[in-house]
Symmetry: C2
Subunit: 344 residues, 2 copies
């Protein structure tokens, strides 16, 4: 008796939530049967299961998922790591991931690196500590320590956004080719003196890859491929500023290839204020295929990348793996589409 009292004083939570054991007692079964009623219904007799569910309802049982994860050494978490939440591009990928994973009962753990590889490493460590079922990260670049950590991890790792030699699974598009594609289009339209305008290209290295594709095409055709780098990653205001800078420094430019649609749309809107005719005075092209570009007059020429679909496909590949089904291709090119508007 005194022994029992001692034990009781050492309990952490006096009046905590009802536990599975209490539910089991209320239903006249063992704890493991109650556990199975939730996690493996097909292994429990139907009547027994109904009795257990009724007991759960009655006592107000809320499963302790932390305890379940510890015991089973897995959680229904999917770690998702992106470099930024400012950029609508990542939001759309997240949306695709979230919809697909949530429908299958997985919970997303969202991490934001702010374009810092060290921060990514730290997030990966934290997420591994949560026994995630899989990890999805934007991009193929990681710190060596982070790469090592992920390589020795035995669960699916998915890298999205770009295409290349990845750790495990990969769904993305070829940014260099996208840059080439737009450059070819500009040449076809007769624009020879095109300026590429990007921002923070050290962090937004996918935009840099697009520039490299652009430069390759222009230089192969015997033209220069000047580059202007802005300070702000992607906003309408920055795009307006970009147009001003091109007008000031490249007075003979006949086209601007912007790193993204936010910049391009900002420039297009600004061109109205400056009284410039697009594309006659200057052509404007973007990247992303945002709806805004299609609502402007003239419509923005851009490249649409299926971002939500990318998230969805990535999630499906990961789920295949989690279901122990064969993953047909570890690397999957999601492609892109040139949308020709009247701005070029």
């Amino acid at each position: 008796m005194s022994n029992r009292d001692t034990q009781r004083t050492r309990r952490r939570r006096g009046a905590s939530q009802p536990t599975l054991r209490e539910v089991a007692e209320a239903a006249g079964v063992s704890a493991i049967t109650a556990s199975r009623a939730l996690n493996a219904p097909e292994r429990v007799n139907e009547d027994t299961r109904a009795r257990i569910l009724e007991a759960m309802e009655r006592v107000g049982y809320v499963p302790n998922l932390v305890a379940g994860s510890l015991a089973s050494a897995r959680s229904r978490f999917i770690a998702v790591i992106v470099p930024s939440l400012e950029n609508s591009v990542f939001i759309e990928v997240i949306r695709g991931l979230q919809a697909t994973f949530e429908a299958r009962g997985y919970q997303i753990l969202l991490g934001n690196t702010d374009y810092d590889l060290e921060r990514e490493h730290q997030l990966v460590r934290t997420f591994l500590g949560w026994s995630c079922s899989a990890l999805v990260t934007a991009g193929l670049r990681h710190s060596p320590a982070c790469r090592a950590l992920l390589e020795q991890w035995d669960k699916p790792v998915m890298e999205v956004m770009e295409l290349g030699d990845g750790l495990d699974l990969n769904v993305g598009l070829d940014h260099r080719e996208a840059g080439r594609c737009m450059a070819r289009h500009l040449l076809e339209r007769g624009h020879r003196r095109s300026v590429f305008v990007g921002a923070c290209l050290d962090r937004d290295y996918r935009a840099l890859m697009r520039y490299e594709g652009h430069r390759e095409v222009f230089e192969n055709a015997g033209h220069a491929a000047p580059l202007i780098e802005l300070e702000e990653l992607g906003s309408l205001e920055a795009g307006a500023g970009g147009l001003d800078r091109v007008m000031a420094s490249h007075r003979d430019a006949d086209a601007i290839h912007f790193a993204n649609d936010d910049l391009a749309a900002g420039a297009l809107l600004h061109s109205v204020r400056l009284g410039l005719q697009v594309p006659d005075d200057i052509a404007i092209a973007g990247f992303n295929g945002l709806p805004l570009g299609q609502q402007l007059t003239p419509r923005l020429t851009t490249i649409r990348s299926p971002r939500e679909a990318m998230g969805r496909q990535a999630a499906e590949q990961v789920l295949r793996r989690l279901d122990d089904r064969r993953v047909t291709r570890r690397r999957r090119d999601i492609g892109f589409e040139l949308l020709v508007g009247e701005s070029t």
Copy 2:
């Protein structure tokens, strides 16, 4: 010996990650000291701590946060529940929350209800099962069961977006008053025949509150306050369609008060295509204060709500509570600002 063998065969994970116990052995201390080296450094001698950290580094220790949470009955999770990820408004709030919580070492668990209160209840149950430290949810409306669950929960609950009688903490703005504010502005500018255009007002009930404020002002001034409801929540295309519908059904309208900036901007861009003069032929007003509206010509009259700041303030209030500091006001009006452009 045979006993030990039996035990060994019953282990779940043969070659699992190194545990705290192994780190402790490597450093020549007990497990609890190693635990304290991470979670309560001030309670461990500096040299001992350095030795432990070095051992962790050496063996590649990754803390098992699931086990820690189970033992301590708390996690560093903050549940965040929003009705949609399509709407940039929620994204911005999430950004504010995320930045503030992440800086303090909390991890956000993001849930999307798709405007379904039953789904919200389910998410709340799941999140409580993860021993979250606090819960942030968008809006004051919940299912009765969900409300009951949250009321008996003993951790901070924060409701954001709107202002009113909440469960616990509340940071938001008065949408009815915002609707009144814009309506007064329209009257001041001489617009008497104003149409309110919203979308899915059963789900976007905050927009409905703005309409009610709008109607109150117009009716008190002796004018009608017609309402048109669109099918799509907020997109440029839907806004263009909204303008068409107003032109078709209210030929004498002199102003359109849109439920949000996406719709309003869509209409403004469409007005160019229709050859309408804004505001002379028709005035256009929005809500949200998106950057896009300020880049259009004419600039969009709208109401700016400080959404990222709302997220940040909400997070700070919750952190105060978690730090056991006094929360000065449980309800906090974040306010709004009328941005007058040339579109009215």
